[in-house]
């Protein structure tokens, strides 16, 4: 008992991984359900096959045989029994393999058949963050954000995947399987969340130094909340009204920030780094690296390479009294 208890504990530990945050087995959408179902069918069928095989092997190993049997002697009755057994085994193998192939094919058809969705997103993988553009028929309703995708619950959303530098892979385990983002071509993927919630996604193709810190959030919410979020994201940044944040804005606009970042409604129009128009409304900065707090924003600006070594955000020259206003300004871009 003393040895069994810890063993049992260790064996049951991996089961904890089946729940929650970024788990393919905690399916929250049709595509992920299809995949999780496949996983469990394969595990149970192949597990049974493995157990049966091991049992047969054990039986045959433990079987007594006569002491001086002639290896070449044949007995017609034994021969017939063996033929029947082997035929049945081959038949069962064929049924299993064909059955599983059929299942896999059916699941793939379900995965790659695209329903017409109301919402189309363009997701561009970049070293090391995700650029997200919400497409719309009206050009004035198109907007760009980064690393945080909001989707309405229960609706299919089409994602067009592209990459700007190297191959990345879009993976939100709770909602769908992986799909590569490849420079120079476009892959399409459909996601749907059946329940409201926050699901974490991650780049699943090694893409360089900070591959591990290339995360994103998918936030599935009720249609009304989503529409409210979207109309807010479309709007430009509200100009700050208190003096400290106004000073922060001046700092932002006079420093190298504007070479890469955009804040709609100001002169900052860089397009090669995350759009900061509503950065304060996002839950994380640095592609899922740090929670969005004033302290974290300041830390990220002062020493990006301490947080995420090799990131393309440079260390810039700031006077000590410029840091706080700048962090306050960015934090307030809700």
């Amino acid at each position: 008992m003393k040895r069994v208890a810890p063993l049992l504990f260790i064996v049951t530990l991996p089961l904890a991984g089946c729940q929650g945050w970024q788990s393919a087995l905690d399916a929250q959408g049709p595509a992920a359900s299809a995949l999780a179902g496949m996983f469990w069918i394969f595990v149970s069928v192949l597990g049974t096959v493995w157990l049966l095989t091991m049992a047969a092997l054990l039986l045959s190993l433990r079987r007594r045989r006569p002491a001086h049997a002639d290896p070449l002697a044949t007995d017609p009755r034994t021969e017939r029994r063996m033929t029947i057994t082997i035929s049945i085994a081959i038949g069962l193998t064929l049924v299993t393999v064909i059955g599983l192939t059929g299942l896999s094919y059916a699941a793939q058809k379900a995965l790659f058949s695209h329903k017409d969705g109301a919402l189309t997103l363009m997701v561009t993988g970049q070293q090391w963050w995700w650029k997200i553009t919400y497409e719309d028929e009206q050009p004035s309703r198109v907007f760009t954000t980064a690393n945080e995708i909001h989707i309405p619950v229960g609706e299919p959303v089409l994602i067009k995947l592209e990459a700007s530098d190297v191959i990345h892979s879009f993976w939100v385990p709770n909602l769908t399987g992986k799909m590569d983002a490849i420079p120079g071509r476009q892959n399409q993927l459909q996601i749907q969340a059946d329940r409201p919630g926050v699901y974490r996604g991650q780049c699943a193709e090694f893409c360089g130094l900070q591959h591990a810190h290339m995360g994103m959030l998918i936030i599935a919410e009720a249609k009304d909340d989503f529409e409210r979020w979207r109309s807010h994201q479309i709007s430009s940044a509200i100009p700050p009204d208190d003096p400290e944040r106004q000073r922060g804005m001046e700092v932002f606009l006079s420093k190298p920030c504007v070479m890469c970042h955009q804040v709609r409604g100001t002169d900052a129009g860089g397009k090669v780094a995350p759009d900061l128009t509503h950065v304060g409304s996002r839950r994380y900065i640095g592609a899922g690296t740090l929670e969005t707090t004033r302290g974290n924003i300041a830390a990220w600006i002062i020493d990006p390479h301490g947080v995420k070594p090799g990131v393309n955000m440079p260390t810039i020259q700031l006077e000590p009294d410029e840091v706080q206003p700048l962090a306050r300004y960015l934090e307030g871009l809700k």
Binding site: D165, V258, I302, H305, P309, N312, P314, T315
Partner: protein, 186 residues
């Protein structure tokens, strides 16, 4: 004895693992490297004009990482808007051997930082110092004025010519013709 030999050989292969040092984190305290580059050979008094080179240039132009970062920023900061892929457009060509304001990396850093007459803007305070050095190192690689091993081997986009690595080593001739933007009617 044989084991020792094999172990030594294995240890030798390990030595090849480190190709170069990559410095991601620039010094946050120092402002900008202090270059004093004279553009004219004339100066009053004996001894010629003062020249001060910080020696940083070698660290940048012999480092493949810095050069490839420079290649990225060259497009990000719209250098190609005027200089195209190095062949020049409204700005002078960068891949030839003529350098109006000098072709050493320090001269190029100065050119980017200070700007030059007839259209080159000053990027002081807009591009951090280490990135200016990286861009300058990449520009040096366009005419293959950097070691072959450090020059970029590919581009992210379509390229009209061979990759920098495959170009023949270039030379630097200081003093060039007037820039294309200056020849246009003002």
């Amino acid at each position: 004895m044989r084991t020792l030999l094999i172990l030594t050989l294995v240890a030798f292969t390990l030595a090849a693992c480190e190709r170069e040092d990559r410095e991601y984190r620039s010094n946050p305290v120092s402002a900008e490297s202090n270059e004093k580059i004279a553009l004219a050979p004339l100066s009053p008094g004996p001894g010629g004009p003062t020249e001060q080179r910080s020696g940083l240039g070698k660290d940048y132009e012999e480092n493949a990482y810095h050069i490839s970062q420079g290649q990225r920023f060259y497009v990000w900061f719209n250098c190609n808007g005027c200089h195209a892929n190095g062949g020049g457009d409204s700005g002078p060509a960068l891949m030839d051997d003529r350098w109006i304001y000098g072709g050493q990396i320090e001269n190029i850093v100065q050119t980017i930082r200070e700007g030059r007459p007839n259209g080159m803007p000053s990027f002081r305070g807009k591009i951090p110092d280490d990135q200016i050095w990286q861009i300058a190192a990449y520009i040096r690689s366009m005419g293959r004025n950097v070691p072959k091993a450090a020059a970029p081997g590919r581009k992210d986009d379509l390229s009209p010519g061979p990759a920098e690595q495959r170009r023949p080593p270039g030379e630097v001739i200081d003093g060039g013709q007037v820039s294309p933007s200056a020849q246009m009617p003002q």
